[in-house]
Every structure is written in structure tokens, then in C-alpha cells.
């Protein structure tokens, strides 16, 4: 069963992923693919219960930059955990494109990547498997706390070391 780890809390996911060939449910929040969004733009835009979009790791958020306000969720795929394109895409969404909704990771998401995902701007991670909610939350806290510091600026996480070093001097 898939659980959603959002802001460190394991919750039930209210969103439904709708595959390209499948019918859209009449109501409830849905996440559709880029292809579907492009093909059914007009009918989807009218849905009342929330719309999300799912991008493959080779699909840049640049493709939806003019439509971002319509999506409450942008789901970025990890087809394999070693495919790191979505880290840059998450950062682009939050940093350059000013997206304020939820960015979530879907697919092959591992505990050892939670911290990097969090720092790159992911708000939520879909976790497959049967690990209980409390264990997932413990994993999350452990993963984020393993390294106390960070050298580089990022969207979240500890204040960069460089700034900590020079804050005292600047004050």
C-alpha cells in the first residue's frame, strides 16, 4: 500500500493517480499525466476537487510553466532511484517558476534520499510497501537528522555552513 509522507507525517493520500487509458473518476482530487493534461486541457481545468499533474523524469516543468497555478500537486517521477533529474526539476519548480503548491516524489523513493529530496523542495513523498506509519515517520526524522549541517544553500534544511561561518563576522 502506498502511503504519503508529507512534511514528515505519514498520511493517507487523498489523491488518485489516473493512468492515461483509464476513465477519470467523477469526483475527488486526481493527478493526471502531462499527455492527458495537454489533450484534455479544457475539461480538466473545470474539475472542482483539485487537479494534480505527473511528470516523467524526462519531462521538464518548463512544459507546464504557464499552467502551474491550476495544479495543487506536481508529482515528479523517479523511475529508478538513481535517476536524479527530478531533484533539479523540483528545485526549478520552487525556485525559478515560483510554484507554491505541493511537489511530491513518486516511484522508486528510498529512505536514504529523503534528506536530499527535502532540501531540493519536495513537500511529500509517496512511499510504497507496508512499512507502518510510525516507522516511516521515524525513518524521516532519522534521515533528516543524520547530517547536522549542509555546505550548500538549498530550498530547505540547515542554514548553509558558509553563512553560519560568516554571520558572526557580519553582525
Amino acid at each position: 500500500m502506498t502511503k504519503l509522507l508529507k512534511d514528515g507525517k505519514a498520511t493517507t493520500d487523498p489523491w488518485t493517480h489516473v493512468a492515461d487509458g483509464d476513465d477519470l473518476p467523477a469526483d475527488g482530487p486526481v493527478i493526471v499525466t502531462l499527455a492527458r493534461w495537454q489533450a484534455e486541457h479544457n475539461s480538466l481545468a473545470g474539475r472542482a476537487d483539485g487537479l494534480g499533474i505527473r511528470l516523467e523524469s524526462g519531462q521538464s516543468p518548463e512544459a507546464i510553466k504557464d499552467d502551474l497555478a491550476r495544479f495543487a500537486v506536481v508529482a515528479l517521477e523517479f523511475p529508478k532511484f538513481g535517476d536524479g533529474r527530478a531533484y533539479s526539476h523540483a528545485r526549478m519548480l520552487k525556485d525559478r517558476l515560483g510554484y507554491e503548491g505541493e511537489v511530491r516524489a513518486v516511484g522508486d523513493v528510498l529512505r536514504d534520499q529523503y534528506r536530499a529530496m527535502h532540501r531540493c523542495g519536495f513537500d511529500a513523498l509517496e512511499i510504497a510497501g507496508d512499512r507502518p506509519a510510525d516507522k516511516l515517520e521515524a525513518d524521516w526524522r532519522a534521515a533528516l537528522g543524520e547530517l547536522r549541517h549542509a555546505y550548500q544553500p538549498a530550498l530547505r534544511g540547515p542554514e548553509p555552513i558558509l553563512r553560519q561561518r560568516h554571520r558572526a563576522a557580519a553582525a
Binding site: R115, Y151, P153
Partner: protein
């Protein structure tokens, strides 16, 4: 040299504990080998042919005596009593036990060292000119910027799962490139612009391996403050667009090649517009803070060529040869840069025993203000030796079997571990290096041949840099037999070139004769004082082909 502050210590220490936990989870079965693989690789732990191999970072090749003793201690305690210096200024241990790796990392952390990102598809150990800070022909010390890059690239959240490995090299020297800068994913030359400001010239997409390429210059000048913003722009373009469908086409060199240098540059510049002037701005205070660690020591007021040195050189021919071949000019009068060749006859290039490491540490303290450098040519450097102490230094090195006077000669071979250790290799390379060094053991003969860079790789991944050897040797597998191809005309440095294959491969039995044929051909046709590479450039490969393949004619 750079010293860790509380933050650097915490980073390394936390990483050791994190890795200890990852190993425990792997051993408990909570991590599959597939999931564990990138985690251990990002900490330098490979599964080799026979055992694990641990690759320890030596950032920009700099060590002090205390660190060298620790490397010796690790070799003795956790391995088989030796270590192997690599072409990326790292050291490898070939026989650590998985259960002891975290303890080794603890030991390293205690002397401000680590194995972070020495492997994996991330930004690797940043390398630099081994003469940094002591060579006269330098605009600024590249170690300052290599250290800044080391910190920025360490656990970079966005660039931990790149399409492929990513290597950065920095050089500050004018006219000389000792770091093979143009053969890196990003190569940085420290330059001065017309306004007299110091910044960086940026080369992207160099590399060896299956598709060797010389990097392309994509920017003539990046200001110091913009260094990280510009690097991040390059990395972001690469991370998003680099090929992930084929690991052999995943390096940034392929992206640059397929996209075109102009378009790639445009994409980087567009990204840079966004990153410039933001959180990545490199404050002058941080540059100053790090530069302070690399201030030159208080050199004594001495003169070049003191009588003590001149007399010894006159009296002792072996010493004179060593000075002529292995010692380089220092920026401070009366000092010298002494190279320690790790290529004695019959020893795998780059291998050093624990006892030799300890001895080098002692020698560095006695003769070189405690500093040691590791070179990408798999040798060591003592950067701050008084010229009037060179003779005593030479005697001390000779006692350890470390006074071979063959730097940049045919005996000074770069060689990968090959099929003796490596699971990727097609052929053995160490035994070939040993046989070549035996064949050319006579130093007088080496001096007559002159500068000749010979480099051997046991497979197309080219860890032995064969493409940039004046003579390159590539091990190939032909119907389960080890064969060796010869390339000629490569060069790693300021005259960067990629060698070209000269013809059909030779068997293991034939290859040493073939090398000798190449050398003899050169000796027969060279003009006075012409180096091998210059003769090759003048005449091309025809005479070499003829002597190698047309003997019957």
C-alpha cells in the same frame, strides 16, 4: 594547508555514523545490494574482483605527515600492508573488510580525511596542480578554489544522482598544465582578465574512457564571486539533459558533443542568469578565510644553487641525475620541489608499502615542512625542500627505495590496476608495466630517449589514461586472450592531444618488443633535442606503422 573547522569535522563525523548505519541495514537485509550499491560507492567502497576496495580522497592531492602516517596505519591494520595512489590523487586499499570500513572511516576522520564521493555518479574528488602554491608560474593557488569546490560539492542534494561521475580539476599555472585540466568534466584555469581581475576560464566536456575528448572552452572568464553559481549552472544543465539511457553515453562530454558547444553554452548561460547573484554568491570573506590556510610558510632567505648542492651534484652522478630529472624549480629562492617517483622497476606503479608511507611522513617533516602532494601521475611530491638539503633528502629516499630518477621518462608509467584487481578490466596491465620498466631499466638509456609518457589501461574505461600517453597501451580481450593496442601521440597537458591507434593489437608476449620498436624508430628518426612527441607530430604515424607491421617487407 586547510584545517577543518567545527562544521567540517561535524560533516565528516556524521557521514561516518550515517554510513555505519547503512552498512548495518545492509547486513540486516533492510537494504538490497542494489540499493546499497550507490550508497557505498558514494563513500568510495567498490566491490572488486576479489574483495571490497576502499578509495580514500586526497583533496587536490595534499597531505601532511600526520595524515600520511594514518594512511600507513590503515594499510597495516586493515589491509595487506600497502596502498595504491591513483590517477585522481586518491589512495586505494584493495583488501578492507566490509565490517571494518566504518572504523577505517573513523580513523580517517580523526585526521581530517574521508572517502566521500570518491565514486558514484556524483561530483568526485576535486583535483589540482601538484605544484600549487610553490611554482613560480602561478596566478593564484588553485587549492583555495579546489577546497571551496570540495565543500560545495559535498553531499550536494541536487547532484547526488547525476547521469554519471563528474570530475573537476583546477590549475593556476601559466603555460603549464600538470593537472590534465582539459580532460575533466569541468576544467578550470585561473586567469586574469583585461581589467586585472582574477577569475576562471571554464572548459567542459573533456574526458577519457570509451570516447576520449578534449574539453571545450565555454567561458573565458568567470568572476570569483560567481564560481559556484556558474558550476551549479553547468551541473544543472547536465543533470537535466545528460543521457540516462546508455551509461556509455552519459558523461557530460557526450551531452556537449551531441548538443553542440554553442547550444550547450547557451543553456548554461541561461541557467547562470538565474543562479548568479543569489545564495550561491561566493563571499570574499570566505575566499579570504580559506586562502589564509594556504599562505606560504615563512621561507628563509636563501639563494639558488648553493655551493653545497653544486658540489654534491658534481661529485655524485646518480644524485645529479635525480636533481636534473625529479627536482623542479620552486618560487622561493634556495628551495626546490622534489618529486618522489613511485615507479621503481618491478613494482606496480603507485603502490607504496606502509613502511614507505611512514618513512615519507618522517622525511616530509625533516625536509619539506611536513607537506606532501600526490600527483595524477601516481607519484608523490615534497613541495618545500631547501636546495642545500636535497642531498640528504636523496640519501634518505634512496634508503627507502624511493629515489628513482625517472620522472616523465619511460619508466614513469601510469598504469591502472587492471585484471589483477579490477572487475571491469579486459587484460592485466601491471605485469606489462613491470616488464616495460624492466626492459628499459637502464637509466642512461631512459635519459637518451628523453621525455616519454607511457600510459597503460587494462580496458576501454581508460583509468590508465592511455589516450593521453605519448605511447598508450590499451588492454583488450580477443577470444579470451589478452591483447594490447598501441596508440601514439597523446598528451595530457598544455599541448593536449588524444593518441591515435597505430594498428592491430599485440599479444602479451609481443607488446614489450613492440614498445621497444616504437622507441627505436623514434631514436632513428629524431632530430637533435627533439622529444618523442615532437617527432611524432612532425612525422605522423607512418614510420612507426612501418616498423611495427611491415617487417617482412
Amino acid at each position: 594547508m586547510y584545517r577543518y573547522d567545527e562544521f567540517d569535522h561535524a560533516m565528516v563525523k556524521d557521514r561516518v555514523e550515517q554510513f555505519r548505519g547503512q552498512i548495518a541495514r545492509r547486513m540486516a537485509g533492510d537494504l538490497t545490494e542494489e540499493q546499497f550499491r550507490p550508497l557505498r560507492l558514494q563513500n568510495g567502497l567498490y566491490l572488486q574482483l576479489h574483495a571490497y576496495m576502499l578509495r580514500v580522497a586526497i583533496p587536490y592531492g595534499q597531505l601532511n605527515a600526520v595524515q600520511m602516517r594514518k594512511l600507513a596505519h590503515i594499510a597495516r591494520t586493515y589491509d595487506k600492508g600497502y596502498g595504491h595512489f591513483t590517477t585522481r590523487q586518491n589512495i586505494q586499499y584493495n583488501w578492507p573488510k566490509l565490517s571494518q570500513v566504518a572504523d577505517i572511516l573513523d580513523e580517517l576522520a580523526s585526521v581530517e580525511m574521508h572517502a566521500i564521493q570518491t565514486s558514484g555518479n556524483c561530483i568526485r574528488n576535486t583535483t589540482a596542480d601538484q605544484y600549487a602554491g610553490v611554482t613560480a608560474d602561478e596566478i593564484e593557488d588553485p587549492r583555495i578554489y579546489a577546497e571551496i569546490i570540495r565543500q560545495w560539492s559535498t553531499f550536494h542534494p541536487e547532484f547526488t544522482f547525476l547521469p554519471r561521475k563528474f570530475k573537476i580539476a583546477v590549475s593556476g599555472a601559466v603555460g603549464a598544465d600538470r593537472a590534465a585540466v582539459r580532460f575533466h568534466d569541468i576544467g578550470l584555469f585561473i586567469v586574469k582578465n583585461d581589467a586585472g581581475e582574477v577569475g576562471f576560464e571554464v572548459w567542459v566536456g573533456g574526458g577519457l574512457g570509451r570516447t576520449p575528448m578534449i574539453g571545450k572552452k565555454i567561458r573565458g572568464f568567470v568572476a570569483k564571486a560567481d564560481l559556484l553559481a556558474y558550476l551549479e549552472a553547468v551541473l544543472r544543465v547536465y543533470n537535466m539533459l545528460g543521457r540516462r539511457d546508455n551509461m556509455y553515453k552519459a558523461r557530460v562530454k557526450i551531452l556537449v558533443h551531441e548538443t553542440g558547444t554553442e547550444e550547450f553554452t547557451r543553456l548554461v548561460e541561461k541557467e547562470f542568469e538565474d543562479t548568479q547573484g543569489g545564495a550561491l554568491d561566493l563571499p570574499a570573506e570566505e575566499i579570504d578565510r580559506i586562502a589564509a590556510y594556504f599562505q606560504p610558510p615563512a621561507y628563509e632567505a636563501l639563494s639558488d644553487d648553493p655551493p653545497a648542492l653544486t658540489a654534491r651534484r658534481f661529485e655524485d652522478k646518480d644524485f645529479n641525475n635525480w636533481v636534473r630529472v625529479n627536482v623542479a624549480r620552486h618560487k622561493a629562492a634556495g628551495y626546490a620541489i622534489a618529486n618522489i617517483s613511485l615507479k621503481p622497476v618491478g613494482v606496480p606503479p603507485g603502490d607504496v608499502t606502509a613502511d614507505q608511507m611512514d618513512a615519507v611522513a618522517d622525511i616530509a617533516e625533516t625536509f619539506s615542512l611536513g607537506g606532501i602532494r600526490v600527483t595524477h601521475e601516481q607519484n608523490l611530491v615534497l613541495p618545500d625542500v631547501r636546495q642545500d638539503q636535497l642531498y640528504d633528502l636523496w640519501l634518505a629516499l634512496r634508503e627507502q627505495g624511493l629515489a628513482d630518477a625517472n620522472l616523465d621518462h619511460i619508466g614513469d608509467i601510469i598504469c591502472c590496476p587492471g585484471l589483477d584487481y579490477c572487475s571491469l578490466a579486459n587484460a592485466r596491465s601491471i605485469p606489462i608495466a613491470e616488464r616495460i620498466s624492466q626492459r628499459f631499466a637502464d637509466l642512461e638509456r631512459q635519459y637518451d630517449i628523453g621525455e616519454l609518457r607511457l600510459k597503460i589501461s587494462g580496458c576501454i574505461n581508460a583509468c590508465g589514461h592511455h589516450h593521453v600517453g605519448h605511447i598508450g597501451i590499451l588492454g583488450v580481450d580477443r577470444k579470451d586472450q589478452e591483447y594490447y593496442q598501441i596508440t601514439l601521440g597523446g598528451a595530457p597537458g598544455e599541448d593536449a592531444a588524444i593518441g591515435t591507434k597505430v594498428g592491430a593489437a599485440f599479444s602479451a608476449a609481443e607488446i614489450v618488443d613492440a614498445v621497444e620498436t616504437v622507441v627505436n624508430t623514434y631514436l632513428a628518426i629524431r632530430q637533435p633535442k627533439e622529444r618523442f612527441i615532437d617527432t611524432f607530430r612532425r612525422v605522423g604515424d607512418a614510420p612507426f606503422k612501418e616498423s611495427l607491421y611491415d617487417k617482412a617487407a
